[in-house]
Symmetry: C2
Subunit: 470 residues, 2 copies
């Protein structure tokens, strides 16, 4: 990385450097709280994590710090840091303080809740996803104030840190609705996405949505011996396989009705940015489970396939006998779990409807079909890259990382679309973690110098945003 | 059933009637021995069952009674009853005395090893499959002797009753080889197949073969998050589904290379016989697992599809996440267990080769394929219906059942082809059980009057066979 933090070109960098030790001490304290939201045994820890954050915000001088813990959502934290100018833009920073489970705990070289610094890497559950990035934003506000010498930030910063993101944010819509006035803002800054790579920092501009459902085909009440009836009755496992095979055409496109009608393709400028990013196919495959070749929709690069193109994937398939050896039966039933990654402006409910139709069209005579939705799904989101706030983020990141920055997206899903829908304002992304931080896996880590650059970028953003949005 | 056993038209019927009580007492004794060959804890019972049969044969006056129990096969019983004429035809009656497990034992209304007579039905494990049919043939020989007043049967009858049929006859080839001289015969009579129906007795003329294998597609070493890589890497579960979907064409024909090249179609006379059999589709479906409609290869009736046409069936399919809810992964691997029912003159080893080719042709780039055979499979067998022995069996059954008798087949597999291959002579079928005897299931039973008619048919056969084969 170019630039020398000991000889800063910007006061924001100097401020971050001066605050770095305190920042790290605080983050390590927070990471030692096992706030595993998906495990009820750890719900007291989620509450403790929320209190820790609220206390830290109060110490930092945030006003109106509140823990929303009256249920049914796990405790969320809200705080506000008003600008001096009541007409300054209002920004809502979104993050989460719940963390993933740690199984298999024996696979961790560094105990998950004893944060350990090894060189530039801080190991611990939540270091990257998402406590590290929330802490980065707290540091960003402090650095902004220190660099400008002001008592109030140039924009009103609101912070909203939920406790259920790893559980799929089941009560987020309700929280957004109940606290509509508190959360009102001109812009949402989403903390929970990575840079493309350490040597290629990027600004994320969108996430895919997702819709999932299980399809079950049932023949009779029981398996039947294939010597007796094989060849004479419909086989639910064969039928499930044919359904799955029919999901894509020869070009790798999904064959649900109107699946592509609402798809907004990326701009030529975005495609050019993606094409300009360094891409090591072998390394990408190794980080993607270890398959030996890429695959997917014709006419799109691998990054485009996973960032800006919708998909249909089999997450699981099951039917009949799966023990050792052979059992010559025609299974009574078979099922498949499907998930569809969605891109703007696809809507989960339209995909759900098209899937029901598709299943009905592919149910052979003699079998009964059932489509069991796995929740409502999550809509996709992408921000208009021409929005001035996006340009401001890009410039802030370029300044902090001392290099040109391109746009990227992420293939996963998150609540950005919900935030956009509830608050009616654009969502921009400012994170500084890496795709290989092992989030959701053993030995999650964060690269500390990147977090410091991210905090610096946030400080630049708060300084420059009023003018960019005016 | 027409005919009155109290006023027999044939001395054979009178002889069977006179011997019926003794027959039933003996069979009940034998059925009380739990000779479950697949359960090592019951191997002493298999040995006890063999000794019981050997003792019964000696009491009946069979000569050269032997228990082959020197391993590795579970004990088999051999006996001979020579004709007076050294040039008389030699017939080998094949059956088995091992029985299926009884789980779930709580589902039995009648304890499996306490044979219970309710009206015409005798309940107990092995009543139908196959002790009942072996006992029927012992009775047939006694009735033949009683009816003819001779001390020796008109044909030399050899009996070979193995103890491993329910285990897939793993040592049958070895036994046939080791005892080639003892087992030499002009004709094999296979006891282990049913009549078509009580009101439609038939002569079975063949069984399908089977070949089974598991196909595994593997991508990487681990599942990968579908948000990260979904749409960009090959999905092994999708690939397995496409392989299965490609197994059949639109007409329901199997698409393995040369799959139908060796298939011998049934004669017009056989097809006419099958078409003339009463067929209640609803009842057949109810007895076949309960599917709501038949299915299968175009141009063939349901009975033809399950008797004389080869198939490809999915016995089990598995891959990825199959627990509750959604787990958005691209699975590391997926597998399918396939079995192919074969008809004459298909050969399992040629199907195995064609399957390997088919899998290679359907393995997408980036995935590794493995084909794991489940044993060598069993060849199909059908006897030439123009063979005089088949006509003799048909006439014997018509005489015993007082009605015209048609040909049938059975869709399951058995060692008839092995016997044919080792001994080089035709195999004919003479059984008198029913498809709904619940073999392999709780409350297995046999309909006693049918067994008595079967014994009578055997007695007619032994009397008439020398002339028919001359």
């Amino acid at each position: 990385m170019s630039g020398d933090p000991e000889n800063p070109e910007h006061p924001e960098r100097a401020a971050v450097t001066a605050l770095a030790d305190d920042f790290l001490a605080g983050l390590r304290e927070w990471l030692s709280i096992p706030s595993i939201g998906t495990d009820p045994a750890h719900h007291p820890d989620v509450a403790r994590s929320a209190r820790w954050l609220a206390d830290a915000l109060r110490r930092d001088g945030w006003s109106d710090v509140r823990v929303w813990d009256t249920g049914p959502a796990l405790p969320a934290v809200y705080a506000c840091r008003p600008a001096a100018d009541p007409d300054a833009p209002v920004v809502l920073v979104y993050g989460h303080h719940d963390v993933q489970p740690v199984d298999p705990v024996e696979a961790w070289a560094h105990p998950p809740f004893e944060p350990t610094l090894v060189g530039e890497e801080l190991f611990g559950r939540g270091a990257s996803d998402d406590k590290g990035q929330v802490a980065m934003h707290l540091l960003g506000v402090k650095a902004h104030l220190a660099a400008t010498g002001a008592t109030h930030p140039a924009v009103t910063v609101k912070l909203f840190v939920e406790g259920e993101e790893e559980s799929g944010s089941p009560h987020l819509t309700r929280l957004l609705d109940e606290h509509r006035d508190d959360l009102a803002a001109d812009l949402v800054v989403f903390t929970d996405t990575p840079l493309y790579a350490r040597d290629a920092p990027t600004v994320c501009t969108g996430q895919r949505g997702v819709y999932g459902a299980e399809v079950v085909f049932t023949g009779g009440a029981s398996d039947v011996h294939s010597g007796r009836a094989g060849g004479g009755v419909p086989n639910p496992a064969t039928a499930i396989a044919r359904l799955v095979a029919a999901l894509h055409d020869d070009r790798g496109r999904v064959r649900l009705r109107d699946f592509y009608t609402d798809v907004v393709e990326p701009t030529e400028a975005e495609r050019a940015d993606y094409a300009a990013l360094p891409f090591d196919e072998g390394g990408w495959l190794a980080d993607s489970g270890g398959a030996r070749a890429t695959a997917g929709e014709e006419g799109w690069s691998t990054l485009e396939r996973v960032w800006v193109r919708p998909t249909a994937e089999v997450n699981g398939i099951h039917g009949g006998y799966t023990g050792p050896g052979l059992k010559t039966i025609v299974p009574a039933s078979a099922s498949v779990k499907l998930s569809f990654r969605l891109v703007p402006d696809q809507r989960p409910e339209r995909v759900a409807e098209a899937l029901r139709e598709f299943v009905a069209d592919h149910t052979p005579p003699g079998l009964r079909a059932e489509v069991i939705p796995c929740g409502d799904g999550a809509p996709p989101y992408a921000v208009d890259v021409a929005h001035p706030a996006v340009g401001a983020v890009r410039d802030a990141v370029e300044t902090a990382f001392d290099r040109p920055v391109r746009f990227s997206r992420t293939g996963g899903s998150g609540p950005a679309a919900l935030l956009h829908g509830a608050l009616g304002v654009p969502v921009v992304y400012l994170g500084a973690t890496l795709p290989d931080d092992r989030i959701h896996a053993p030995d999650e880590r964060v690269v500390v110098p990147l977090l410091l650059r991210g905090a610096e970028a946030a400080a630049h953003l708060w300084r420059t945003l009023p003018e960019r949005l005016s």
